[in-house]
């Protein structure tokens, strides 16, 4: 039962990141604009990130869904969620009027506390996936 629950969580989280990546990959200019609004990076770097990050989410999300390199994918996505959350926190601290941009324009979230709560839930799920893969591997090793 717990195995089914673990698989469902892994596939669910993977699909969330694939969806977030596809939405942003379809409109990289809008995502670059969202990145610039945070005033942390600008110019060409913002544009390069706007092209790279969506595909990173798609690839790592797909790795979670197909259960290949799951632990590495979970670690990378956890790092991404942490970076996004820190960026949101710094925007809130500086009083910037930004939308999250996490899911492109489809689910534009202007309430940063809600976006941070969602990120915290995703991060918890990713850490749990990472640990469950590790413990499953340890059990197989016994």
């Amino acid at each position: 039962m717990s195995r089914i629950f673990r698989s469902a969580a892994r596939v669910g989280v993977g699909l969330i990141f694939i969806y977030a990546g596809v939405v942003k990959a379809m409109d990289p200019s809008a995502f670059a604009e969202s990145i610039r609004h945070f005033r942390l990076v600008s110019g060409l770097l913002a544009e390069l990130l706007a092209f790279y990050l969506p595909y990173l989410e798609i690839v790592t999300g797909a790795a979670l869904v197909i259960h290949r390199a799951t632990q590495a994918a979970a670690v990378i996505l956890s790092a991404l969620v942490c970076i996004f959350t820190l960026a949101l926190a710094s925007a809130w601290w500086r009083g910037l009027d930004v939308s999250c941009g996490c899911f492109g324009k489809t689910l534009a979230v202007t309430d940063l506390s809600w976006a941070m709560l969602r990120n915290a839930m995703l991060l918890s799920a990713l850490i749990w996936i990472c640990r469950s893969v590790q413990s499953a591997r340890a059990r197989r090793g016994k």
Binding site: A25, S42, Y52, I58, V59, T60, A69, I76
Partner: protein, 130 residues
């Protein structure tokens, strides 16, 4: 611990589709020498100068409007007022600078199309006027 090969693979793999998408979405700069033959007549092209005010005051393409990332909020309004649907926008700065590409990217993000960057910048335009 996950293998470093898995990390490398997951981090490198997205570079390929991202590079392809980047290449497709960013049209090559228009060469100054080819500008006269290929660009729309100056009267219907909206020229955008992405250089500092001092440089703009020294010399600029007739009819050009200034627009920089630093003064975006102030300078974007006149540009939008001048722009009509379908009017080609040509952004330029100094030769080798990156500000025209950045301004062009932001204009594209706002939905303006087509937006091109003048390769060689102001110097290339001056060359065509000789």
């Amino acid at each position: 611990m996950p293998s470093w090969k898995h990390f490398a693979c997951l981090l490198v793999l997205p570079i390929f589709p991202a590079a392809l998408a980047f290449a497709v979405s960013n049209p090559k700069p228009v060469r100054g020498a080819a500008l006269i033959e290929t660009a729309e007549p100056a009267a219907v092209t909206l020229w955008v100068d992405a250089r500092p005010e001092r440089k703009f005051n020294e010399q600029h393409i007739p009819g050009a409007l200034r627009l920089t990332e630093e003064e975006w909020d102030v300078l974007i309004e006149p540009v939008l007022q001048q722009w009509n649907l379908g009017t080609p926008v040509m952004v330029y700065c100094e030769p080798g600078c990156g500000s025209s590409a950045e301004v062009a990217a932001r204009l594209r993000a706002m939905g303006l199309e087509p937006v091109n960057v003048l390769e060689g910048g102001m110097a290339a335009w001056a060359e065509t006027q000789r």
